[in-house]
Symmetry: C4
Subunit: 205 residues, 4 copies
């Protein structure tokens, strides 16, 4: 099965999740900068953090599917699983922001990030182990990758949230930095003419 | 008429329907896990159920249009009919969740699922009976299919809701399981080189 | 300039406009069918009417751009003008529904439909008169078309709303019927191999 | 890396941002035209202004990526940076509208436009200086462009807002006019057969 609709649907869900968070920003009643800061300060920081996380997931999703030409049914479900946790992120972001980064909401936010990270890792594994789709992926990326480091970071963040929620925010921000450093492996792999996608016979794709 | 825009528009509507349900999850006032469960417990389960249903419809829609190369005006309207009932699902989900799965809302939710199922079956029939678009579909899938079993399941669920709403939720969950078992017929059909789509002459497509 | 992104962006805006109307449907407090009808009865009918109108516009937009291969800057703006009036439709639908189809809101709703109709006619004219994009469109459709009949219908509806709002709803529903009768001209034109799009040289498209 | 998903994701975010602003228009309680004007008058003008701005950005984004065939990771992030500021526009528009164009909200709105303009300019620079993607862009557009004039206009608008907010609105409206005058350079460049995109080898694109 071709991947174009899977990509279009995922782009749609991620674009909505990243944009509707702004609907939760409440405009202050007083027309002053002070009132703006009081009303949105912390909330805005949480919004930026989640925007960057969803941006990272879109980016990684985009990279991942560059290497995949056909998908089976299990990849469709692994992808929906990922979209589920990412579509919850506006909710957990909002709760954390409204409570001004209280303990329980920050733990829940971290668990949401953790589950999204786990879903992405599951998606990678489903692709890697798939009979047809995994070939180019295995060649390009191999086994060890940043997803596990990122998962460990989110786990650390959840732990930190039980002690000091603000510390957890710092840990989550650090996890985003891991992803801002580009992974050149996929780009290098694709730049090599030997790694061209199989010719499109117009049959199954 | 080519199918790419029909697919893109449907992807858009389904992506929005699946994502806006999260806007209805209300954040609790108290920053405790207990308050989160009180505020979102049942609602969250309803959200998961509807997320899976819309995911299934997207999945089935995707499979269905793999076999269709050109569509006539009646397919466009049969598709809009399906999107109409699916775009109502966030509303009926929300009512059922807010009333903590009361009788009437659960019946309405079941009727919504039933009408969406009926609309999907109508779409399949419109494609199967179409002069041009049905050929490959008839070869691959034939007449009997899971849509009718799923319709019967939703009907059973509506009946169960009149007795015990929670039982209905169980029935609806069982209906999703029917669809999680993949239908290999379309994938097998497409894998056979003899079933290639007709060569694209660049004229009508 | 190629049309694929214009189509994708328009699909996005129309998919959102058609889906967010459901956010305005308020769930009733009592879990009874009676309460559901009291809370959403009229509103639901207004929702169906607007859903069908946006569906018609998507359908017509889809047909129109089948005949267009390249667009100039003025087509982009004529298209945004159309999207502007269609993106307002959830708002005017909502006001009409909330006031249970009162006079002024129904007039405003009719004016919104009228302006959307005018914007679509402007878009058709911009394409027809364009130096490059109009050729195939002129051949296929010629000058007289249903857009003007539809505009006259909406004007009649606005007039009817000043006397009896419910009569206006009847007129608007009649206007949708004009569009449900398919316009076979574009499909027939495209089916003729002589009317193939110009070969794609890969240069400007 | 190919640009199709970057374009699809950007189209999604822009389509949502341009459409959700209408969710902030509040329907008046009284069913009269007078009440409509009281409730939405100023807000509607702010809505139109932001609709035009997002339309302009979509238009410019569309033009820009016509000249780009492959992008690197830094372009993806420069693009997300632009989408971030544009996704905030519904919020700042809303605050300015609710406060009936008070001083501080108008300054914040202007700063939002300024930051979006800066992000677009950064995106242009990232593309122009990129090792592979910039070649055709540099040939077609060169260095001087309207982005800087637009940035200066927004800066002037922010300054004007500190004196008289309505004057600032006039300045922002004038900035939109700069963009409504089409930039023929890209269209002319693409019309010349010598500037065809490099043949698609099916390898890296």
């Amino acid at each position: 099965m071709r991947t174009n609709r899977l990509e279009a649907f995922s782009d749609g869900v991620l674009a909505i999740a990243i944009t509707i968070m702004v609907l939760e920003l409440r405009t202050p009643e007083d027309p002053t900068l002070r009132a703006l800061w009081d009303a949105t300060g912390i909330r805005f920081l949480a919004y930026v953090l989640s925007f960057v996380f969803i941006g990272i997931y879109w980016n990684n999703h985009h990279h991942l599917f560059q290497l995949v030409d056909r998908v089976s049914g299990s990849v469709l479900w692994a992808n929906l699983h990922l979209l589920f946790w990412l579509s919850l992120l506006p909710f957990t972001t909002n709760w954390m922001a409204e409570t001004e980064i209280a303990r329980a909401p920050t733990i829940v936010y971290g668990i949401n990030l953790l589950l999204a990270g786990f879903a992405f890792w599951t998606l990678e594994m489903t692709i890697e182990r798939g009979p047809t789709e995994g070939t180019r992926y295995r060649d390009a990326v191999g086994t060890g990758n940043k997803s596990l480091v990122s998962l460990a970071g989110c786990l650390l963040g959840v732990g930190a949230a039980t002690i000091a929620p603000l510390l957890a925010i710092g840990v989550f921000a650090a996890v985003t930095l891991i992803w801002l450093i580009p992974d050149r492996r996929i780009e290098r792999y694709l730049a090599d003419p030997h790694n061209a996608p199989p010719p499109d016979t117009g049959v199954t794709k």
